[in-house]
């Protein structure tokens, strides 16, 4: 669906804009984030080790080689989700805040089980990733419901700030009615749109190369993630790549002129 791709790009984007950022992989047992961030071979200690007190947080944090403000806390491949405890996760988040991290991105596993619950429980803001198809939108709706009823903010009677990110959007197919349109998804989920990431072959390439797609400033997906990060930081940026491209020679010349 694009949760880990999004976590890697948003955390990189925040770090590139000068914010000290940590990204935590909550997908215990199926780690992916370290692969996408190309730090797989540098994992010594992981999130579960820190929770169990087998290593310090500083030992487990991996510094990203591309930006100096980004640190990765990888998941464990040899444990299961139950290794995460509310107290343990809270302690790690607190320690990260004490270390001066401005943004902590929690990469949630799929589903609505323990791992996802742990990832969302302490959230102040949440980016919900949906693909423009009915089943994915329904799942996102469910997650939004859990977010606003089971998170700590909800327990305190407050609300988690919601952001909707639509990934793998193909304007041509949406125009033909083969895919839900942005408006439909927005209307069904009744929440604020953070961005629309167009379906783009560069996403797959980037993830195979271990470079978050946001670094590919030429690609549409990279640009769209950049816009999303700017919006997350409170900037007003207009949405792009929502409509099918006109491929006529005339319109191409015209566009170049503009």
């Amino acid at each position: 669906m694009g949760k880990t791709t999004t976590s890697s790009s948003i955390s990189s984007g925040l770090a590139l804009r000068g914010h000290k950022t940590a990204v935590i992989d909550f997908d215990i047992g199926l780690r992916n984030l370290d692969l996408i961030m190309n730090v797989e071979r540098r994992v010594v200690y992981d999130f579960v080790n820190v929770i169990n007190g087998e290593s310090t947080l500083k030992q487990a944090l991996i510094k990203d080689k591309r930006t100096e403000n980004l640190f990765i806390l990888p998941a464990s491949q040899t444990r299961d989700k139950d290794a995460l405890t509310v107290e343990g996760v809270e302690r790690v988040l607190k320690e990260l805040a004490e270390l001066g991290f401005e943004y902590i991105i929690c990469d949630s596993p799929a589903g609505i089980e323990h791992g996802a619950f742990m990832a969302l429980y302490f959230a102040d803001e949440a980016v919900v990733v949906a693909n423009p198809e009915v089943s994915s939108v329904r799942d996102s709706d469910r997650i939004l419901g859990i977010l606003q009823s089971k998170s700590r903010k909800a327990e305190l009677g407050e609300r988690v700030i919601e952001h909707l990110l639509i990934t793998r959007y193909n304007p041509e197919r949406a125009a033909k009615g083969e895919m839900l349109g942005v408006k439909d998804v927005e209307e069904i989920l009744a929440t604020k749109l953070l961005g629309v990431i167009p379906e783009c072959e560069t996403v797959l390439k980037a993830s195979n190369q271990g470079t978050p797609v946001i670094y590919d400033a030429e690609s549409k997906a990279g640009k769209a993630y950049g816009d999303a990060v700017d919006r997350l930081l409170g900037k007003e940026v207009e949405h792009r790549f929502l409509d099918p491209e006109h491929r006529g020679l005339f319109s191409r010349l015209f566009r170049r002129g503009v």
């Binding site: 709706d141 469910r142 419901g145 327990e155």
Partner: protein, 254 residues
């Protein structure tokens, strides 16, 4: 025996019971004096204004706004007073530890101090017009619905279930896969895509109103319509659903 009255959610694992968390609106009787004679007079006056609203209403006795020493309060007399007026004291809130012990002895629960989740400080006393029997065109309900109105201004998401022992007003949409239940009427000022069950206690005069009818199920007092029937009747239009002779009618608003 398993009850089959309303379309039910998943079956419980133990056969005999099911434990569920529930949020129910409760009336908080926030005391401002320990002088029960003053309280009795004023409370009686309020209750006689709209007796149906207060009949068998569970109340929480709040002691947090007391300016005098709360220990001067006679809890037994207070309980008896409430019961005389038709209220059902259920718990105390913000009492001293002695009062909590006393409450336990009287079979009341003790709630901790502090603001309850989503609690409003607005007085919930209903205006006398709140009485349901004002409409002359409607027959008297078999089970008159009394209770508070709950207003929700956030979307009801897939998988959520909301129950209100009165009227339910939702200022947003109800997603597919969500379920809203009320003993009274249901108003949805958004799209109704999930399931809506009004008149849950058998009130056939209850209605369901919505801005855009895209429901999976609409039921009033057990009479229901499902997807196929709903799709053919004013789909995506502003509608109301009501019951005539045990049959559910979907009619456009305006």
């Amino acid at each position: 025996m398993r009850s089959t009255s309303a379309p039910n959610t998943s079956a419980a694992r133990p056969e005999s019971f099911q434990l569920k968390g529930g949020l129910f609106p409760m009336t908080l009787l926030e005391l401002k004096t320990v002088d029960l004679s003053v309280l009795a007079a004023e409370l009686r006056a309020r209750v006689t204004e709209s007796p149906a609203f207060f009949q068998h209403t569970p109340v929480v006795l709040g002691f947090e706004q007391l300016k005098e020493d709360p220990d001067a309060l006679n809890l037994i007399q207070l309980r008896d007073l409430c019961q005389q007026l038709g209220l059902i004291p259920t718990a105390i809130k913000g009492g001293s530890s002695e009062q909590e012990q006393q409450a336990y002895a009287l079979g009341l629960a003790a709630l901790p101090k502090g603001k309850a989740k989503g609690a409003t400080t607005v007085e919930t006393a209903p205006p006398p017009t709140r009485e349901r029997r004002t409409s002359a065109t409607q027959p008297e309900a078999a089970t008159p619905t009394t209770g508070t109105t709950q207003v929700i201004d956030t979307p009801i998401r897939s998988g959520q279930q909301i129950y209100v022992p009165g009227d339910l007003i939702i200022l947003s949409s109800v997603s597919a896969g969500a379920e809203i239940l009320a003993d009274g009427n249901i108003h949805v000022y958004g799209a109704l895509r999930g399931r809506a069950l009004a008149g849950l206690q058998g009130d056939e005069t209850a209605r369901v109103f919505c801005q855009s009818q895209e429901a999976e199920l609409i039921a009033i007092a057990g009479h229901y319509l499902v997807d196929e029937d709903l799709r053919s009747q004013h789909w995506k239009a502003a509608t109301q659903a009501y019951c005539v002779g045990g049959k559910l009618i979907i009619a456009p608003l305006s």
